[in-house]
């Protein structure tokens, strides 16, 4: 059975989606929709998509897709998802699923009631090094998780950041938590498997470090997710260089360090050798691991499995499989809701801090 797929939103995010959809054998991209007709037109022409729409409901009525991938700005995610579900479509929504956890919860409940599958664009959740890390943690390699550290450096002069700075009407400025709200999924989705269920946002610090025309564009954030057993430190920075995306999970036996940008995963463990010999051995062990990773990554290049967003293909593949076989969705809804709640708390914390400073 070939699944009929439609994309709504024909901007940068849709480019990533279409690249992965084209690789799937059981999926056919039949239509694209954008409220800006020129954007819909260019997308369809460049990607050979047969039907271009500016009216989403018209697309649903005429094309009857099985799955809708929503790649629009976050402000429209929930409404589009609800409309798609109402029309019996399974839905993949770019992150964040909705502007608040209350709305995210409503969308998920509606999907469940209507027997539709739903997932969110947590690309990094299925990144190969993250999957490998989860497997090693599950095998008990690191013992019990003790501490987590997630870090994302963002380029405000980069392709996306420059568009935000150049356009006072950019949708990022319309989000309550602006840039931070649009990026927290990348960090919180990495820790959601390991923190305590009752973890709450604490020690939030947010500030503006880059001079820009937008006084409320927070570009630095630090927060702690504190639970009974484990804490997670979350950091988002527009000043830090090199640009990177790192995750560290400290365990009771050893520590795993992930570099998502460079696709490396290394383990720090105690040496059995004494004194300087032990320290030397640890360095050599790190060298061995990085060399091994480099060869593995070279093999991935040869296998054409070293994409810029390697987790997105896995996510889509797993989601379409869940649709076809009526299996569990790749990302548990409880995870999505917990992350959404933390983002709410972070955004509220930022707003409160801004209110006090004013």
């Amino acid at each position: 059975m070939t699944l009929r797929v439609a994309i709504v939103g024909c901007g940068k995010a849709a480019e990533n989606h279409v690249a992965e959809i084209k690789k799937l054998s059981n999926v056919s991209l039949i239509a694209a929709c954008d409220s800006e007709p020129l954007m819909a037109e260019q997308f369809c022409l460049r990607h050979g998509v047969g039907a271009s729409y500016t009216d989403f409901e018209q697309l649903l009525a005429e094309q009857r897709p099985d799955v809708v991938q929503i790649a629009t700005p976050p402000q429209s995610h929930a409404d589009l998802a609800l409309t798609a579900i109402e029309n019996g479509c399974h839905v993949m929504v770019e992150k964040p699923l909705a502007e608040s956890s209350a709305v995210a919860s409503e969308v998920i409940r509606y999907a469940e009631r209507n027997g539709c599958k739903l997932t969110v664009g947590w690309t990094y959740y299925f990144d190969p090094v993250v999957r490998s890390m989860r497997e090693r943690v599950a095998r008990g390699t690191i013992g019990d998780p003790v501490h987590l550290d997630a870090f994302l450096a963002y380029d405000l002069q980069g392709r996306f950041g420059a568009a935000v700075l150049d356009d006072a009407a950019h949708w990022v400025h319309g989000l309550r938590g602006k840039l931070v709200q649009n990026n927290l999924d990348h960090l919180l989705s990495l820790v959601v498997d390991f923190v305590d269920h009752d973890s709450a946002v604490s020690n939030l610090s947010a500030w503006r470090a880059t001079h820009s025309p937008y006084p409320d564009l927070v570009d630095e954030l630090r927060l702690t997710l504190a639970g009974e057993r484990i804490c997670a430190q979350i950091a988002f920075s527009c000043r830090a260089r090199p640009l990177g995306h790192f995750f560290t999970i400290v365990g009771s036996k050893s520590t795993l360090r992930l570099n998502l940008a460079n696709q490396t995963l290394t383990e720090d463990s105690s040496s059995r050798l004494p004194g300087p010999l032990g320290r030397l051995a640890c360095g050599l062990d790190q060298t061995r691991q990085l060399a091994s990773q480099s060869f593995s990554n070279l093999a991935r290049v040869i296998r054409s499995d070293f994409q810029a967003l390697p987790g997105l293909g896995y996510l889509l593949s797993a989601f379409y499989r869940s649709v076809e076989r009526d299996e569990d969705v790749p990302i548990p809804y409880a995870h999505i809701l917990r992350v959404s709640t933390w983002i709410d708390h972070a955004v509220n914390g930022i707003r409160d801090a801004q209110a006090v400073s004013q």
């Binding site: 024909c10 020129l38 954007m39 150049d166 006072a168 994409q307």
Partner: protein
């Protein structure tokens, strides 16, 4: 006469603004983005106090900003376009922005519109080498096979022509070749592909369709005043061969290593590369396709006869232009331009030189 220049802080835009100031323009409005570097324009504002130079800070993706910029305008020079970034970004900032400008032009009943397009809009991949491309040559019919910039410029031009058919403004379309000058003397892709300290010269015997910025600006200004409606190629005469240009560049600007590749060998490499791109499932970006090579390095020549006949006289010869540009880029008092985002205060509704 009130004039609007979009893309005014860019390389061509700032030269045009200076030319218009020198020509005695009384009211000149510059549309700039919030992150535009305004140093050059500020310098011009101080240098030519008799011209009332206004800035409108905004983004042409906003129809409101386009309307705001267009109030009371009689002549528009539309230079703004996106040259870098992802395909949707280039398209949005070039084509969607143009649609907004056109809506504002219609709303404000602007009298005359000058669009700065590009020679890349022609469909030349199938034309034999040394074919002379005139304004009557057909536009690209397979834009999706071209790079993001060409794709957007082709659609932009069609959009302007579509609006012209349905509305009553005068439209002059200029299609410049490779614009160079003091402050922009880097090697153009038509001269070869730059890989760090190396340049791969593709089809070194091709003549480069160059236009020196002062010559180009003269044509653009003329288009706003008296050129008959229609489209015009803007290329200088006596253009050098790519090999000659690179040789001069190496002797005057920067020591680089050049490797010459014949067009046929590059085509073969492009076929192999395209196969690798397909096998890599998008891991390698499709930056070089055989179709793009035929379009860019096909050895076509571009005629400027129509523009010449309409009264355009280049100010500088190609030899002079190249010498000036290369010497300026090597002059320590005039540092080479580096991309630098300069933040400006929050956009005011309409900031002017008097404010």
């Amino acid at each position: 006469m009130s004039i609007l220049v979009t893309g005014a802080s860019g390389f061509l835009g700032s030269h045009l603004v200076e030319h218009l100031c020198i020509s005695g323009a009384k009211h000149l409005r510059c549309f700039v983005r919030p992150s535009s570097d305004l140093a050059k324009l500020n310098e011009l504002r101080d240098k030519y106090p008799s011209t009332h130079l206004q800035y409108v800070v905004g983004n042409l993706l906003s129809l409101t900003d386009a309307y705001r910029a267009m109030e009371g305008i009689e002549v528009v020079y539309h230079l703004a376009a996106e040259m870098k970034g992802t395909a949707p970004t280039v398209f949005a900032n070039t084509v969607v922005a143009s649609r907004n400008i056109l809506e504002a032009i219609v709303m404000q009943r602007v009298r005359r519109v000058v669009l700065v397009s590009s020679i890349c809009v022609y469909g030349v991949a199938h034309l034999p080498r040394a074919t002379v491309v005139t304004e009557d040559t057909e536009l690209e019919t397979q834009p999706e096979r071209r790079d993001a910039y060409a794709f957007a410029k082709i659609r932009q031009e069609k959009l302007f022509q579509q609006y012209r058919r349905n509305h009553s403004f005068d439209l002059v379309i200029l299609r410049p070749g490779v614009i160079y000058g003091e402050g922009r003397a880097e090697l153009p892709s038509r001269a070869g592909l730059r890989l760090g300290p190396l340049i791969l010269q593709i089809a070194a015997q091709n003549r480069l369709p160059l236009t020196y910025v002062s010559n180009c600006v003269t044509a653009v200004a003329l288009a706003g005043l008296s050129l008959p409606e229609g489209s015009y190629n803007v290329v200088d005469e006596n253009s050098p061969k790519a090999a000659e240009y690179v040789r001069l560049y190496r002797s005057l600007v920067e020591k680089i290593t050049s490797v010459r590749l014949s067009r046929s060998s590059v085509l073969l490499l492009a076929h192999i590369f395209s196969r690798c791109v397909a096998l890599s499932k998008g891991q390698i970006p499709a930056v070089l396709t055989p179709y793009q090579i035929k379009s860019t390095w096909g050895g076509h020549r571009f005629s400027n006869e129509r523009l010449r006949a309409a009264g355009w006289n280049p100010r500088a010869s190609t030899a002079e232009g190249i010498l000036r540009a290369f010497q300026a880029s090597n002059c320590p008092t005039q540092p080479r331009k580096t991309r630098q985002a300069v933040m400006v205060p929050p956009p005011s509704p309409l900031a002017s030189s008097e404010n």
